[in-house]
Amino acid sequence: MSAEQLTALLPIIAITATAVLVMLLSAFVSNHRLINMLSLLGIVVTFLTLLLVVNVAPVQVTPLLLIDRFALFYGGLILLSGAVVVMLSRDYFLDSENTRVRAAEYYILLLVAILGAMVLVSASHFGAFFIGLELLGVSLYVLVAYLAPSIGGRIISLEAGVKYLILSGVASALLLFGIALIYAEFGTLTFTELGERWRSAEALNGLFAAAGIGLTLSGVAFKLSLVPFHMWTPDVYEGAPAPATAFIATVSKGAIFAFLLRFFTTTGAFENQMIGLALALVAIASMLGGNLLALLQTNVKRLLAYSSIAHIGYLMVAFLAGATGYVGLPVVGEAVGFYLVAYFITTLGAFGVVSALSNMHGARDLDQLDDYTGLFWRSPWLATVLTAMLLSLAGIPLTAGFIGKFYIFTAGAEGLLWWLLAALILGSAIGLYYYLRWIVVIFKQPQEQGNQMPVALPLSVNMSIVLTLLALALIGLGVYPPPLIDLLQSI
């Protein structure tokens, strides 16, 4: 391995080293704050190594990993989100030393999950893809069930973890079988070689190829929780501790979508009509299904779960625009990139507020819609941040979510995808209702509340910083997006 390749691997090495360090430290110290600080420091250092690697990229490191600007951009996004999740966890697991919950393993798992996500976005080979996916997935099973009843936690957390383990295991099995079939048909697992073979005529008409791709896509659709593979999402979102939910909603889904983007743009698989049609139907079903099911929720974590299904559906529109041939792949990359950044900020912000209001000592997170009654009058700043995040999810101007949606509109219009855009508009209109319903609850005047309110936690400095930064990023990108657009165009 050359020095250049080793340099390119620096971020992955750094995050792995952080995980090992935290593990070693936790054998001797159980101080939660110290472990939290070390994890955060490790992530920041890893982020800094990215800046070193930019100069040498792109580098192919073994056939498995391609460290290019794409991988670095999404790696950076994952690390920043990871840092936010670590900061959210700090208050969530406060005073965990006095309970049977040990927070140290939580951070180790979080760091390993980040490692998995970074491998995923750098993968140029199905082998690396699967390794990354499983590193991410196996860590997540435990993170979801982290507050299990055996250590005085919540039954719902264990249920969610087991559900995710079983269903995700099935999806992984499908994926592996699909990959095996693709290998049987084409004899290679690297994306560039697959792309060359698929571009030749009738390559995808064989039974093995069709079944292989179908199974692989089903597995990926499961991880992205696209309709009809979405059943696990609300339960897992509800059961997982709030910071872990934020992690699943952003890093886990974002990394897989970035992989999907890379896979399809490298191999050109979506130029195949059957695949394009199947993906379009899945996108429409997700946009409409996600939004309609969200209407029925009274639990905000479940509500955000269904809303995330719809948002991945919106993303699929930009993605599919690339398949039409009218829209250049760089435009698709930009649209998806911008939307994902906006979605990351918004989702982290929304779950950040949920985290700020909850902690591990409660019997549940503060996740009922009623819990938010009159939040604005008790805790104006938290409420303002949450409102901004919800407006961004709804795609209202002044927020990054609007520019993201605008990007998808332009990509879709350029690709003449009128049916998908019609579903997007319909989905957005439905979506408005439940976002607004939540906002109405937040702004309800105090004297009308009949039930006894849990008093809002005083906001810690740490939380204020995180949430303020997220809100500033949200508004900043919504009002003046050119810096991010330039960055995305340079990928």
Binding site: E334, W377, L391, A394, I396, P397, L398, F402, F406, F409, T410, A413, E414, L421, I425, S428, A429, L432, Y433, L436, R437, I439, V440, F443, Q445, Y480, P481, P482, I485, Q489
Partner: protein, 487 residues
């Protein structure tokens, strides 16, 4: 730069009002008044000193063009012409009225209320000056959110339903418009190779082969929802009825005008040929709005609902005038917008003051108020008569010109529309009769207008009379935006 300041002053004033309330340093109501007065001063002093520039065959008093999102050819373009100036003047004046009309009504978190009020005005000011399609949409939505909060937080008994309905109607139709904008820009891009959201670049767009009619419809639906025209009006009676007084004043006086403004500024000039084809349909919708609004208004017992339906009827005249495609129709439409701004704002302010006094809007529980509140009776009598189109007052000029223009374009439709002039006296006078005459179901006295209320009503009366007797300045100011689109 003065255009930026016009908008920025309102945004900053809003933040200041909120901060002032939280720190208890000053009364947010006075900050709101001061902000609007400063803005008015800036606007008027600018209008006196301005010189005009000609862009795309049209005179503009001021323009500003800064790059914003170069990736999409989006610019920060603000410009003002006579039409925009009149609309801004109306906006700021009614903003003042709105603050005055809610002077004693808003007891809870007055700072946040005035923040929302000023931000709505800022959004509206942006809508009236933005000439980049993206920027226009941006402001179109920005004015929506604070209005939503005004209804949802300070509204009456059924406010949540009304606020969400208002928001979903406007936002969903807005998305249609956004889609039409993006498609228009991309079709233009394919033809000309220039990616631009600028109004001036798109005016002369050659769109052969594009589904232009559908794009026009996207704009039309968004603007008619706001106008509102039948059958897309159902959000309006709920929103108006549930909003607090200042909210109703702004909704009826200003926000409805953004729909009409959009038709005049964007829908017709951007799609001239399609608009001509579509004109008979649009005019028919206008007539249906006029008749339907008037008939339904007559059947109401809730006074705010009644006034809301009369708005639908009056705005039908605007739709009729815009699609008549001649100078009378156009000038009549603008005049009706200004006149309706005054009368509807005054009547909603009256309805609000009545509700504040007797805690009901049900006209069946009113009656005989003239005895205890003669000033109120006389003033409301004045505005009712103005609304029914009495010659000498502004509304008459507007509706008369609209009918004149529309008759040239389509005589049969106009004959039906003229029936509205018969229906208007019926619902207008019925308000006077039910509230001020006769014996009430529940006998009660009502306190008369305070001097604050007399002052604000007096200002609106003066303007209504002034515009009615000497409308020429308005006619000269508005120019002929529409004409160039048609020719």
């Amino acid at each position: 730069m003065v255009l930026v300041w016009l908008i920025l002053i309102l945004f900053l004033g809003g933040i200041l009002a909120w901060l002032a309330d939280r720190t208890r340093l000053a009364d947010p109501r006075w900050i709101a008044i001061a902000t609007i007065l400063i803005d008015l001063l800036v606007l008027i002093s600018f209008s006196l000193s301005s010189s005009s520039v000609t862009i795309a065959g049209q005179e503009w008093w001021a323009t500003l063009d800064l790059p914003w999102i170069p990736r999409f050819g989006i610019h920060f373009i603000l410009a003002m012409d006579g039409l925009a100036f009149l609309m801004l003047l109306l906006t700021l004046f009614l903003g003042l009225i709105a603050v005055l009309s809610s002077w004693t009504e808003i007891k809870k978190s007055s700072g946040f209320f005035h923040f929302n009020l000023l931000w709505t005005l800022a959004g509206v000011a942006g809508v009236f000056t933005a000439l980049d399609l993206f920027l226009f949409f941006f402001f179109w939505e920005v004015m929506l959110i604070p209005m939503y909060f005004i209804i949802a937080v300070w509204g009456h008994e059924n406010r949540t339903y009304a606020a969400i309905k208002f928001f979903i109607f406007t936002q969903a139709s807005g998305l249609l418009m956004l889609l039409a904008m993006v498609a228009l820009v991309y079709f233009n891009y394919q033809q000309s190779g220039q990616l631009s959201f600028s109004y001036f670049d798109l005016l002369g767009a050659n769109l052969s082969g594009a589904p232009v009619f559908w794009l026009m419809l996207g704009f039309f639906i968004a603007f008619v929802v706001k106008l509102p025209g039948v059958p897309l009006h159902t959000w309006l009676p709920d929103a108006h009825t549930q909003a607090p007084t200042a909210g109703s004043v702004i909704l009826a006086g200003i926000l409805l005008k953004t729909g009409a403004y959009g038709l005049i500024r964007f829908c017709v000039p951007l799609f001239p040929e399609e608009s001509v084809i579509f004109a008979p349909t649009a005019m028919t919708l206008g007539v249906i709005s006029i008749i339907y609004g008037a008939l339904v208004a007559f059947a109401q017992t809730d006074i705010k609902r009644l006034i809301a339906y009369t708005s639908i009827s009056h705005m039908g005249f605007v739709l009729l005038g815009v699609y008549a495609f001649n100078s009378q129709g156009y000038q009549g439409a603008v005049m009706t917008m200004l006149a309706h701004g005054m009368t509807s704002a005054a009547l909603f302010a009256f309805a609000g003051s009545v509700q504040q006094r007797i805690h009901t809007r049900d006209m069946r529980e009113m009656g005989g108020f003239w005895g205890s509140a003669p000033k109120m009776g006389a003033i409301v009598m004045f505005f009712s008569i103005a609304a029914l189109g009495m010659p000498g007052l502004a509304n008459f000029i507007g509706e008369f010109l609209v009918l004149l223009g529309a008759f040239k374009a389509n005589s049969w439709i106009t004959v039906v529309a003229a029936l509205g002039l018969i229906l208007a006296p019926i619902y207008s006078l019925v308000v006077i009769q039910r509230i001020f005459h006769g014996k009430p179901l529940v006998p009660r006295d009502i306190s008369d207008f305070s001097s604050r209320e007399v002052l604000m009503m007096g200002m609106m009366m003066l303007i209504t009379i002034g515009l009615g007797l000497y409308p020429q300045p308005v006619m000269e100011t508005v120019g002929l935006v529409l004409q160039m689109g048609v020719s």
